[in-house]
């Protein structure tokens, strides 16, 4: 027996549902699709363009991350025509006029990489998938940079690397959509070696302590090969766990060896601790083979120098940039003072090299988009490849097409004996010119990768 009970309400309900169902397909067609894409991922709609700034806000490099974020905010301000314009006045290209990028106002989103590649990728993916970021920048460790760079390649947006020093970022893990302004391990080694030889002599025996991860390996390899080419001998090379906080057990064997140089391939907290231990063990006051014992730290940073305090005095290392460059070495490094001035006025202290590279990367991206006349990643990549520029604080610089690495002078610095304030901890020893740190794209330390094709995404 069947019993049908059509009610007025039931019929109305069914009708409404069916109607809505029939209407659905028309919602998907026509205008709603047309404005969605113009051939690449996250093509900017409306009058704003969104950039993603992915920096460590927690974890061991949170200080660097905070400084990077300040620089990004400053760069966005300058691009939008607020503030004093900073390096826009000194930049050799005059395409940026303070009206945003291609007339679109620059907006930005921020994320926390936690200095973990998983978290960094999650954060970058949310910027791309949710916020519609057209470019991602930032990062302050090479593992994170490599991971996010690969993600951007997959998603089809541009990655402008922040602080990443490992050779791999533009070596075996390079990508067509990724660009690095910061210098690398090889350049540190090449820049340091001649100055080390000049300062400490060519007949030296070096002992390496190396942080046990990729950046440590590439740095140790670079410094070792460069110094050995100068006539140094490498006595021993010991890997130290990244989580190590007390390096006494690694320093003691140095005293037993006949080494007269200690190279600390450490960064961040590792370096602060190992250097402090080394100084406590009296290495600085030691004499071996009739020569004064010396310590070298290949990659210096202001924030590390602050952590190590007076132990840093007299120790040589290399930097990508320093805020005193233009004052001490003149015109060639123009842009430095303009940036330091606007950064200082906004935040009350001079910027770190991490802040500098992030600021410059943002400007370079904006300029490349303007020159290309499009936000399409492939057009932007083409505009950046082989691009020569000046006035961004590092002197004349080349963005090499073969590996998307910037080539410019490298600053060799020394810890000050008696710093006047906490921001002026290092003195510039010398600047190694760009051609001395330039290498072939297929150099063995960089071999094994391929840029691949640029990917504009959907």
């Amino acid at each position: 027996m069947t019993k049908s009970n059509f009610t007025r309400r039931g019929v109305l309900k069914t009708g409404a549902t069916a109607g809505a169902g029939l209407a659905v397909p028309t919602v998907f067609t026509g205008a709603v699709w047309a404005d969605g894409h113009t051939g690449f991922t996250n093509a900017p709609q409306g009058d704003t363009v969104t950039l993603g700034f992915n920096v460590p806000q927690s974890g061991p490099y949170a200080d660097e991350g905070a400084d990077e974020l300040r620089a990004f905010e400053l760069a966005v301000e300058h691009l939008n025509g607020e503030g004093d314009g900073g390096m826009l006045q000194t930049f050799s290209e005059k395409n940026l006029d303070g009206t945003g990028i291609l007339g679109k106002k620059v907006a930005f989103v921020t994320g926390d990489t936690q200095t973990k590649s998983d978290a960094a990728r999650a954060s970058a993916r949310s910027m791309i998938e949710k916020d519609g970021a057209i470019m991602v920048s930032g990062g302050s460790s090479s593992g994170v940079a490599v991971a996010v760079q690969a993600l951007c390649q997959e998603a089809g947006i541009i990655f402008m690397a922040g602080l990443t020093h490992s050779n791999d970022t533009t070596g075996k893990d390079k990508k067509a959509n990724g660009f690095r302004h910061f210098f690398n391990s090889y350049m540190s080694g090449a820049a340091l070696a001649p100055i080390l030889a000049a300062q400490y002599g060519e007949d030296r025996k070096a002992y390496h302590l190396t942080a046990d991860y990729n950046w440590g390996y590439t740095t140790q390899e670079a410094v070792q090969s460069s110094t050995e080419a100068m006539g140094w001998e490498t006595v021993n090379s010991v890997l130290t766990p990244l989580t190590q906080t007390d390096f006494s057990s690694y320093i003691a064997p140095v005293l037993q060896s006949d080494a007269d140089i200690l190279v600390l391939n450490h960064y961040g907290g590792n370096m602060v601790n190992s250097l402090t231990n080394a100084v406590q063990f009296g290495l600085r006051d030691r004499e071996v083979n009739g020569k004064k014992f010396e310590i070298v730290v290949p990659l210096y940073s202001e924030l590390m120098a602050r952590g190590a305090g007076e132990n840093i005095a007299g120790i040589l290392g290399s930097q990508n940039w320093d805020w005193k460059l233009e004052n001490e070495l003149g015109e060639r490094y123009s842009g430095t003072n303009a940036f330091v001035k606007s950064f200082g006025e906004k935040y009350g202290f001079p910027p770190s090299q991490a802040a500098h590279t992030c600021y410059v990367q943002t400007l370079l991206y904006a300029d490349a988009v303007t020159r290309a006349g499009s936000f399409n990643p492939c057009a932007v990549a083409e505009a950046l490849e082989g691009f020569e520029f000046d006035g961004l604080g590092n002197g004349p610089t080349l963005y090499r097409a073969d590996d998307h690495q910037c080539f410019k002078d490298v600053v060799v610095v020394r810890g000050k004996e008696s710093p006047e304030n906490e921001f002026d901890l290092v003195e510039i020893v010398e600047v190694t010119p760009a051609d001395q740190v330039t290498y072939e794209p297929d150099h063995p330390q960089f071999a094994g990768g391929s840029l691949g094709e640029c990917n504009p995404g959907a």
């Binding site: 926390d112 973990k116 949310s126 460790s141 997959e154 998603a155 991860y213 691949g452």
Partner: protein
């Protein structure tokens, strides 16, 4: 059984109850469990819509969570937490090293994609198998002790695995940089890729990243292939966990939790049961690890770090240990905080409160700012404390309390009874 069936409709006054349910079990589940499964299935199916309640471009769009990456993480960490709950919720053994199995699964998965094929099936199977074998070894050793000693042993194993992956085994794990797919990997089952082509994970040709955008006026909903594949896997994982909870085996595990000595005296050795539970939950973790790799083809050693192990403990406790749906809710809660609240920055806050007068705006922003953005850990910590203190049963208990407050019928607790009677007299 009939007794239960007669009472159940009174508790859930849903007219949609299928008539078949009265006859006994569906898919081997009781009616209540079946409804729960349907509920989870509906959540998975409609998540892209439920999680995007605010129109794109509006100020509240910041809180939208319906984008592929986060939805994938919701279901994958849901699986991880469901598996952890089988061990912790049923046997009471608190493992502090479960992230190791997730990591091992991930590495196994990506190696399958490097060596065999870009299809995700072999990768996921390998993840489960390898994580299962690894958990068998770890469990065999760790389960010789219980309580805090067991926790410390598992923690030690996990940190050992992390250290191995981060540096010692760099040739296999890629060290700090991790592993990614390369175009020149020797995928024996696939045709070789051209130089520079980005390898993409797929399921018989369906790209995991393939998405369709649906627009309804200002609203945009993203339907992602990878998410729905992960969602189906989670539904299966959830179903298996219900079956396990309701099985005699599950009862044995609860017996281990309530009194292990008594079990020993009755002549039953709990070891095989706990080891089986440990391995099953390790396999769940491996499954989650494999899916993570399938959705995002990259592995970093950090996912084995102790904080990752701690996170799954938080997820389970926050949601409600020993309950079926609790871990899923807890994982969603934590991942939401990690990905949404952490991205609220000072300029976003300023934009929200721009309607306030200048001075007041600064004050409000200054008060809220420490709790969002990089301060999301702080907010999460406070919430976790609140949950543990006021809702020891987790979010599930919170939900039950809410239901009783609103229902206010005779079944409710005494405190509510008064309110219910009062309401009835008013009517």
């Amino acid at each position: 059984m009939t007794d239960q069936a007669q009472h159940a409709p009174a508790a859930t006054p849903k007219p949609a109850a299928p008539a078949r349910a009265k006859g006994g079990s569906l898919l081997g589940l009781g009616r209540k469990d079946f409804m729960l499964l349907l509920f989870v299935a509906a959540l998975i199916l409609f998540a892209p819509f439920l999680l995007n309640p605010f129109p794109a471009g509006s100020a509240m769009a910041q809180f939208n969570a319906g984008y592929p990456d986060l939805m994938q993480r919701f279901v994958i960490f849901g699986i991880f937490a469901i598996g952890f709950n089988i061990l912790f919720g049923l046997t009471g053994y608190l493992s502090f090293g479960h992230a190791a199995f997730l990591g091992v699964g991930s590495y196994a998965g990506i190696w399958m994609m490097k060596l065999l094929t870009l299809n995700v099936i072999p990768a996921i199977v390998a993840s489960v198998v390898v994580a299962g074998l690894f958990s068998l070894v770890v469990g065999f050793i760790s389960l010789r002790r219980s309580g805090i000693y067991f926790s410390i042993l598992t923690l030690a194993f996990a940190m050992m695995s992390y250290a191995l992956a981060y540096s010692v085994l760099t040739p296999i794990t890629g060290g700090e940089t991790g592993l990614q797919l390369k175009y020149f990997d020797p995928r024996v089952l696939d045709a070789p890729l051209e130089a520079g082509v980005t390898p993409r994970a797929n399921l018989f040709g369906i790209d995991m990243q393939a998405s369709t955008n649906m627009r309804f006026g200002a609203w945009i909903f993203t339907l992602n292939a990878g998410y729905y594949i992960a969602g189906v896997v989670m539904l299966i994982a959830f179903y298996l966990s219900i079956r396990l909870f309701r099985s005699p085996f599950g009862m044995m595990l609860r017996a281990v939790k309530s009194n292990q000595n008594r079990l020993n005296y009755t002549g039953i050795s709990p070891k095989p049961y706990t080891l089986a539970a440990f391995v099953i939950s390790g396999m769940y973790a491996g499954l989650a690890g494999g899916l993570l790799v399938a959705m995002d083809t990259q592995v970093g050693a950090e996912r084995m770090f102790w904080t990752a192990s701690g996170e799954v403990v938080l997820m389970t406790i926050l949601g409600g240990a020993g309950t079926l749906i609790g871990p899923v809710l807890g994982s969603g809660f934590i991942k939401y905080f990690e990905n949404i609240v952490s991205k609220i920055n000072e300029s976003t806050l300023n934009a929200w409160f721009s309607f306030l007068p200048d001075g007041l705006q600064d004050v409000v922003v200054a008060i809220i700012y420490p709790f969002v953005g990089k301060g999301w850990h702080l907010t999460l910590g406070l919430l976790f404390m609140a949950v543990v203190i006021f809702l020891p049963g987790g979010l599930v208990q919170g939900g039950q309390k809410l239901v009783t407050v609103f229902r206010r019928d005779r079944k409710s607790a005494d405190a509510e009874k008064a309110a219910a009677e009062q309401r009835q007299t008013q009517e």
